[in-house]
Amino acid sequence: MPLDNNNRVFKSVGTSPLRPDGLDKVTGRARFGADATASGMLWGRIVRSPHAHARIRSIDTSKAEALPGVKAVVTRADFATGLDGDIGDILENVMASEKALYQGHAVAAVAATSPSIARKAAKLIVVDYEVLPHVTDVDEAMKPDAPVLNEKIFTEGLAEKPTKPSNVVKRIEIGHGDVEKGFAAADVIIEHSFRTEATHQGYIEPHACLASAGPDGQGELWCCTQGHFMVRDTCAQLLGMDVSKLRVTASEIGGGFGGKTTVFIEPTALALSRKANRPVKIVMPREEVFVASGPTASSSIDIKIGATKDGRITAADAVLRYQGGAFPGSPVEMGAMTAFACYELEHVRCIGFEVVTNRPKAAAYRAPGAPMSAFAVESVIAELAEKLNIDPIELRLKNAVKEGSRSSYGPVFGPIGLIETLEAAKAHPHYSAPLGPNQGRGVASGFWFNFGGQTCTSLNVNIDGTVTLSVGTPDIGGSRASMCLMAAEELGIPYESVRTIIADTSSLGYNDVTDGSRVTFASGLATIAAARNAIKVLCERAAKMWGIPADAVIWEEGYAKPAGANAGEFEPLSLADIAKVAGNTGGPIAGHHEVNIETAGPSFATHIVDAEVDPETGRTQITRYTVVQDAGKAVHRAYVEGQFQGGAVQGIGWVLNECYIYGEDGVLQNAGFLDYRIPVASDLPMIDTVIVEVPNPGHPYGVRGVGETSIVPPLAAVANAVSAAAGVRLTELPMSPPRILVALEER
């Protein structure tokens, strides 16, 4: 659907009404993953490998089975066989077969009548392991003599097919032009290596589900997920069930950020339930969330950028090495595609290596792959600005992509808002405010593709003139409110007259996962189209009521009106007027829309950060933060700001503190919120926001996704601020106090 037009005046869209699910959430009534119960319910518990890498010689479940209260024990034998490729990897991750590939890898599970019996039973399962050498570091894992995780991995994408298996899954290369030629034309070349550590999405709600499956092959599942249709399809395959026989309901979801876009415990709960023929609930303890659900990749990156004296970039080159944990699927490709996406480059190249290690399988985390490569690139850009003595925003403006630019990853950009964010940042009072002692200011820009995908919505007009909208994308941060706003806008009725529900998998066609910043864009687009289809029916019914042809009726601001010379004179009919008599004019009135949206609407952001480094302790305090981002069109302004602020703060945590720390034994040392410390309220200043609106031509209202772009610039923006404050360039994350102290000493 093309953009309506740039000058449309909106009534509902762009306001910030109270969210429809708000009351439930402030009173404790909302039901999240762990809040459901069923009669006769059992408690499931998963047994996990204590070793980073070990062959499973045997599993003895007899003692656990003999414990009173234990109703079922499952191992890999209780799942489908013959799966390979991605789905085979998912199954292997859900329940190990021959080898445990990381500490925390599931090897068996029990279901019992109480949580404490389940815990005891889990301890009674005896696994005989042959411990193998392991590797958790990305650079170590690439060495020729590193312990190999999977004998079947032969690096793809090399000129010559390797003869030996290794931990390098593939090599990719993107770009255009001739970087050597570009560097030859440069007056200045800057080259640096960077390292980032894995971070966890850190959603406050641990994974939880309630499964009920019977020997008749039917099942129901209640779970916290970003995509219940994905859960249904995946679980059905892992358990050898018919997709139609598994009904999945998405609970309220207590955060995900990409980490709830796959299955971990759901298939196991179903397997236990099927075996016990009773409902089974599994809730991951927080420690298991850290060791056995997906963090993001750690990375090792080399960047080389050349420019002329006046600040024009002549060539850009990157080598990215990302580990994705124990299975293929690291986001290195997206890291490579986003690395230089902000810049118009004639000569650009990104080489990426995807590496497996003895760590939990990486999952998506907000703009997967992009924050790390942006950290490296934007750090070099900052240094280039210093060296050339050009204002860092000016330098970016000089090289920024705009409509018509060929992106570093290939396609030509349509209307985009990078320049607008840079101009707005430059004009913001923050950018010219004075700095105090030991303070530094950093800026950085960032890009994310955003995503469309398979989407299906259904809009039903009720007898009293209200509307019920069914969408299939879980509401993770207020999207119900956006859907209500768009439906109300299109139909011309009050926001309060629309109720949006998240339909279960048996009530609506397939919907892709809530990811890729796609929901407000794609489910929104489908909602608008469904509303337009309902309007068509409403006009037909009005025509019938008036006895005139359907094409002589138009819809304006919530009313059917006769249009054209021969339509006659009739009082306009409201949606409620038409709905009231729907039974006499042809029956229920509804609008549907099903689509696979191939376009998206990329979004850019520029962040400004002030940081103060304490020279005595090496501690960093963020003193001021401003996010400027293009939303295309902000549907619910307050929740758009919230996405900006949340992404920025996750980024701050990533730069300053958060990281996975492994011991020599390959065991995670900080699997809890005490030692894996995400930012708390007292660590932060207020986060200022500026919403830029460059309409996306691929959406009728101009909406772009906003959720992910907000975490792309902060790593670099904070790093640039800290480096400026410390007077030394820091290239390794996290920039924790000990690391900063060392840098200060070496300065």
Partner: protein
């Protein structure tokens, strides 16, 4: 294990329950009394999602044993609104969009209410330090802090 009988007051109502000696108050509230408004984010006292008041003191219910609360008074999120009248904090949280996913919200509301009862006129820094034990991964805290400060101002005016 032998179960124990515990008699308490929860949100003003007399409540008796049976629990095992090693069961936490959070487990009792959620699994035995069906008061699922208090959430478990960590189970180790690090996230604040399970915040309740015990004889007026703010505690992590995951660190209190069910057996310990015999004869004591507990306040949970379910008791923050007065019938169909929301507490001003609840209204302000909605108005300021101070929740995204909402999982941290019950704990943060219980903690913020307890702050305002002690200190009706907190500074921004005081609010930030008081709420430092309540993790929120979605909002960046900005709108939460604004909502608490705005509530405090309104309640002082009223």
């Amino acid at each position: 294990m032998k179960q124990m009988t515990v008699s308490t007051t929860i949100n003003g109502d007399v409540v008796e329950f049976l629990c095992e000696p090693d069961e936490t108050l959070l487990d009792v509230l959620r699994n035995r009394l069906n008061l699922t408004g208090s959430k478990e984010g960590c189970g180790t006292g690090d996230c604040g999602a399970c915040s309740v008041t015990l004889d007026g003191r703010l505690v992590c219910s995951c660190l209190v044993l069910g057996a310990e609360v015999n004869g004591r008074e507990i306040g949970t999120i379910e008791g923050v609104a007065d019938g169909d009248t929301l507490h001003p904090l609840q209204s302000k949280f909605l108005e300021h969009a101070a929740l995204q996913c909402g999982i941290c919200t019950p704990g943060i509301l219980v903690a913020a209410k307890s702050l305002l009862e002690r200190n009706p006129d907190p500074t921004e820094t005081e609010v930030r330090y008081w709420l430092a034990g309540n993790l929120c991964r979605c909002t960046g805290y900005d709108k939460i802090i604004r909502a608490v400060l705005d509530t405090a101002a309104e309640m002082r005016g009223a």
